[in-house]
Symmetry: D2
Subunit: 292 residues, 4 copies
C-alpha cells in the first residue's frame, strides 16, 4: 500500500438528543472530504469521537464509511481500545467491512510498558491481514511511544508499515527519518505543524481540516512537493490560526461548529464534550470567512 | 455519611483465559480486606481494572461486592467513564445494587474543560441519590482538577461531599484544607504519600495495599490519629518500598502477583496489561516476606 | 557537627540606591533571627541574594555575619557559583572567616552531568576543611540532583555530610531516608512543605521565615519533635499561606517588604528583582498581622 | 541594521591550566568562521562560555573580537548577566568597543516576572545606542519569554528590533510570525531545528556549527532561500546527527573537542564543565569525517 498526501478525517454526526449516530449526515461529511480531493479517508479517529461510541455505533460508522467511499480513495479505520481483545475484534471487523488499513494507537488507563504495547500491536496485527499505521498521540491516548520503539515495531511486525506522529515535536520526525534512512513512511498528525512535517519528509498529513476548508491543506501539500517553498509558507500561515484553533478547541467540537456555520447541522459532540461557546463560534466564523 | 480510615480496594479476579471475571474469587479478595479491618470497600477502582471491564462484567462486580460485603462496612463504587451517559447509567445501577457511595472521576480522551467536567458531575449527581466522592487522578484519567475547582463542585453540587486526591502533590491537600477551613473531607489516593497526607489532615487513605499486607495501613492510620508520630514514621518507612513498588509496577499487576505468591491465584490483569515479570515477582516476594 | 532544628536565613540589606550592601542593617536582621532562637544562621543563601553580589560584597557579608553572630549559633555560608574556581575561592574564604559549615549548590548555565557536579563538589571539598551541606534547588540553580546521586557524594566525599532538599517533592526525602537507613541527615528547604518534611525525618528546616514571624517555625519544629502532631498541624496551617506566599513572591522581595512593614527598611532587592507591588504588600501585611 | 543568514558563534579558547583566555587562539576561531562565510559573528554567547568569564576576560574577548573581525561582518555581543547593573556596564562597553549589536537575555537565579524582565531590557537599552536582539533560551537562562511578551518589548523599546528563539518549539516561531504579520525578524537558536525555522520564515540561524563544519549551515540557508526544498532537506539531514550532538553534549565542550580533532587545541571548557569523554570524542570524529 502506497499512501501519501492528505488523509481526511470525518467527524461523526449525532442526532439532536446526542444519543444516536446520524448516519445519513456522515455521508455528507464524507462527500465534503471527497470534494476536497483528499487522498484517503480515516474513519473513527479522534475527530470522529471513536472513543465516545459504543460497539454498535462504532461498527455502523466503519461499515457505512467503506460503503459510502466506495473505493474512490482508500479507507483507514482508527482503533484505540483499552483492551487488546476489543482491538482485535475491531481489527477483524475493519477487514470484513472491506477497509484498506488500520490506524492503531494504544489508549490507556494504566500506563503501558513497551512490552505491553508491543504485545498489543502484535496481537492485533495477527488478527487481520490489513496493513497497520502506528499512531502516537500521547495527549489523547495517555501513552507515548518513542521513534526508536515505533521503528522496532515496524521492523518486527510485518504488517506495521507506517507511522502517524502527533506529539507536536518535530524532532520525533527527524529521528524517524534518520534512524530509518528515510525508508519508513510517516504522517503528520499535528495540524499546526504541517509545514515543517512535510518539509522534513512526512509522506502526508492526517487532518480533519478539509471538512471545513476544502483543498487548502492539499494545496499546501502540493506546493511543498513541487518545491514551491515560499508559496507553501504563505499557504501555511493563511491556515495557521485556524489549524491551531481547531486543535486547541477540540477537533470534534470545532469541526462540528464549523459545519453548522456552513449550513450542515451534524449535532453536538457527545457529552461530556461540549460544543464551542458563542465567543469561540464567532472566532471560528471569522476565520472561515477569511479562508473562504 | 461519615467516612474515615482505610478504604480498601479489591482487584478483580479473571479466569485463566483472561476472558471472564472469576466472581467467586472476588469473594476471597473482599474477605481479605474485611479481615484487614478496612473501614470501607471501594469496588471498580483503578486496582479493580474497571476501565478494562465490559458493561456486564462491571455490573456483575458491583452487585457481587455489595452482596458479599453485606453491610459490614460501606461500599463505594468507582465510576470513570468516557461518556456522561454511561456514567449516569452506572450511577443508577450503583444505587440499585445498594451501594453507599459513588467515587466519580472524569476519564478522558479529549482534554476536558472545567465546564465540561462540571456538567459531567452535575448530571451524574442528578441521576442517583448517592453521595459522591470527587476523584482526581490525572495520571490514569488524563484530566487534572485543581483544589479550587473541586471545592467549587463540593459547594455547588449538594451530593458531592468529599474528595480523593491522587496527584502525589502534597500541596493540593494543603490547599483543600486551607481553602475549606478544614471542612471538606479529603482522602489520600497516593500510596507512598500516606504519611504526609494523614498528617496534613486527610480523613483516610484509599488503598489496595491491605489485599497483601493486611492491617499494616490501618496501623499507620491509627498511630497518626493517636498522635504517635514516631511510631507512624516507623510504620510508614516499613511499608514504603512496598507502597512505591505497587504504584510503579501497576496496582492490578502487583496485587495480583502478590495474591498468587500468597496462595490465591486470581489470574492475570487484562491485556494489554501484563503480569509482573520474574524479577519484579522476586522483589515483591522479598518485600512481602519482610512485612509478614 | 551535629546540626538540627531551624536554620535561619538573613536577607542582605542594600542602600537606597541599590548599589551597596547596608552592612549595619544586616546586624539587625541577624539579631531578629537570634531573637527567634534559630539553631544556626546561613548567610548568602537564596534569600540573601548571594547570586546578585559582587565578590567584595560577598566576602563582606560572610565576614560580618560570622563576627556578628559571634559563636552564639553555628554559621553556615552558602556557595553557588558558576565556576569551580570561584567556588573554591569562596570556600577558602568561608573557612578563614571562621564559619562552621558550607552549603554548596551547583549553579549552572549549561546543564551539568553528574561527573561535572561530582568533580565540582570534590574540588571544593578539597579546598577547605569545613563540613559541606549538599544543597539541591533546581528551580533556582538549574541543576537537579537525585537522592541517589547526593548519597553517593555523601559516601565518597568525607566532608559532605548532610543534604538540603528544596525540590518540593516529598518523595525525595523518603528516598534519602530509606536509601541511607535514616543515617544521612537532611534538611527541608521548601517552606510550605515543612510539616511533612519534619514528619518524614528531616533534621531541620532551612528558612527565612523567622525574619518576619519569629519563633513560629521553631514552635512547629518543637511540636513535631515532642510528638504533638495535632498541634503541629495547627501551627503549620496557621503559617501555611504566609510560607507559600514568600516562596511564590520571591524570598528576598517578600522578606524585605515584610521587614519594612515591621519598621526596618533594608532597601529593595537588587535589580532586575523588583520589590513587592502594592497589592502583594497589602496581602503580606494582612498575613503578618494575623500571625503577630 | 539589516541582518540575515548565518550568525557564527566562536568558542572562547583557554590556556592549558584553564585559568586564562588564550586570546591569540580566538583569532584563529574567528578566522575559521570568516572562512565559512558567516554573515555576522556573535561573541560571548553560550558557546563562548560568557557565563564562566570574569569581567576582565569578558571585556578582553569583546574588544579582541571587534578588532579581529575588523568590519568584515557585523559583530554582535552577547549579554546575559544576573544583575541589571552589570548588564548595563557591559552594554556600554560593547558600544565603546565598536560592536554593532547586543544580544540580550535575562539570566536568572530567582525566577523573573515580566515586569522585572521588561525593566531589565529597558534599562540596558537606555545605556547604549546599539540595536538589541532579544534572546530567549530558558534551558540555559532559567527564564522563558513568550512570543507575545517579546513582541511587546519590540513594540515598546525602540532599539529592541529582533528576536532569537532557542526553545526548540517551532510554534513559538509561528506565533512571532503571525502576531507580527511577518514584520519582526527572528533567528533560530536551536541547531537541530534549523530546517523548519528557516522554512517558517526565520531571517537566519545563530550557530557555532561553522567552527567545525564550515559553510554547510550556509549551504542549507542558501538552498532554502533559493526555494530548493529537496536539497535543503538533504543538507539538513546530512548535518542533523552532528547538530543534535553538539547541543546535547554541550556546545562549548563539543566544539572545543572538534577543533582539537581538527588540529587546533583551544583548551578545555571552564570547570565545572568537562571536555567530551573518549567515547563522545570518537562519535564526533566519525561525524566530522562524514561531513568533511
Amino acid at each position: 500500500m502506497n499512501l501519501s498526501g492528505i488523509i481526511g478525517y470525518p467527524v461523526t454526526p449525532f442526532s439532536q438528543d446526542n444519543k444516536h449516530v446520524a448516519i445519513d449526515k456522515l455521508g455528507h461529511v464524507i462527500d465534503v472530504l471527497l470534494d476536497a480531493k483528499v487522498d484517503a479517508i480515516a474513519a473513527l479517529g479522534s475527530a470522529g469521537e471513536a472513543a465516545y461510541l459504543n460497539e454498535a455505533e462504532w461498527k455502523q460508522v466503519a461499515e457505512y464509511t467503506v460503503q459510502h467511499v466506495a473505493g474512490k480513495v482508500p479507507v483507514i479505520i482508527g482503533i484505540a481500545e483499552l483492551t487488546t481483545e476489543q482491538a482485535v475484534q475491531y481489527a477483524r471487523h475493519a477487514h470484513q467491512t472491506g477497509a484498506d488499513m488500520i490506524m492503531l494507537s494504544p489508549f490507556s488507563y494504566f500506563k503501558l510498558s513497551e512490552a505491553e504495547i508491543f504485545q498489543h500491536y502484535e496481537t492485533v496485527a495477527g488478527a487481520s491481514p490489513l496493513p497497520i499505521m502506528i499512531y502516537n498521540n500521547p495527549a489523547t491516548c495517555g501513552v507515548d511511544m518513542s521513534p526508536e520503539f515505533m521503528l522496532k515495531m515496524v521492523d518486527r511486525i510485518p504488517s506495521a508499515i507506517m507511522i502517524k506522529e502527533s506529539t507536536g515535536d518535530i524532532q520525533r520526525m527527524h529521528k524517524i527519518y534518520t534512524l530509518s534512512d528515510g525508508n519508513v513512511p510517516f504522517f503528520n498528525g499535528c495540524n499546526h505543524m504541517a509545514l515543517e512535517a512535510l518539509n522534513a519528509g512526512a509522506s502526508g498529513w492526517c487532518t480533519a481540516a478539509p471538512c471545513l476548508i476544502g483543498d487548502k491543506p492539499g494545496q499546501l501539500y502540493d506546493a511543498i512537493k513541487q518545491g514551491e517553498s515560499e508559496k507553501a509558507k504563505e499557504l501555511f500561515y493563511q491556515q495557521y490560526e485556524f489549524l491551531e484553533f481547531i486543535v486547541s478547541s477540540g477537533l470534534a467540537a470545532a469541526v462540528k461548529s464549523g459545519l453548522a456555520l456552513q449550513g450542515t447541522d451534524v449535532g453536538s459532540p457527545r457529552k461530556p464534550l461540549l460544543p464551542l461557546n458563542n465567543q469561540a463560534q464567532q472566532r471560528l466564523r471569522g476565520m472561515l470567512e477569511a479562508l473562504a
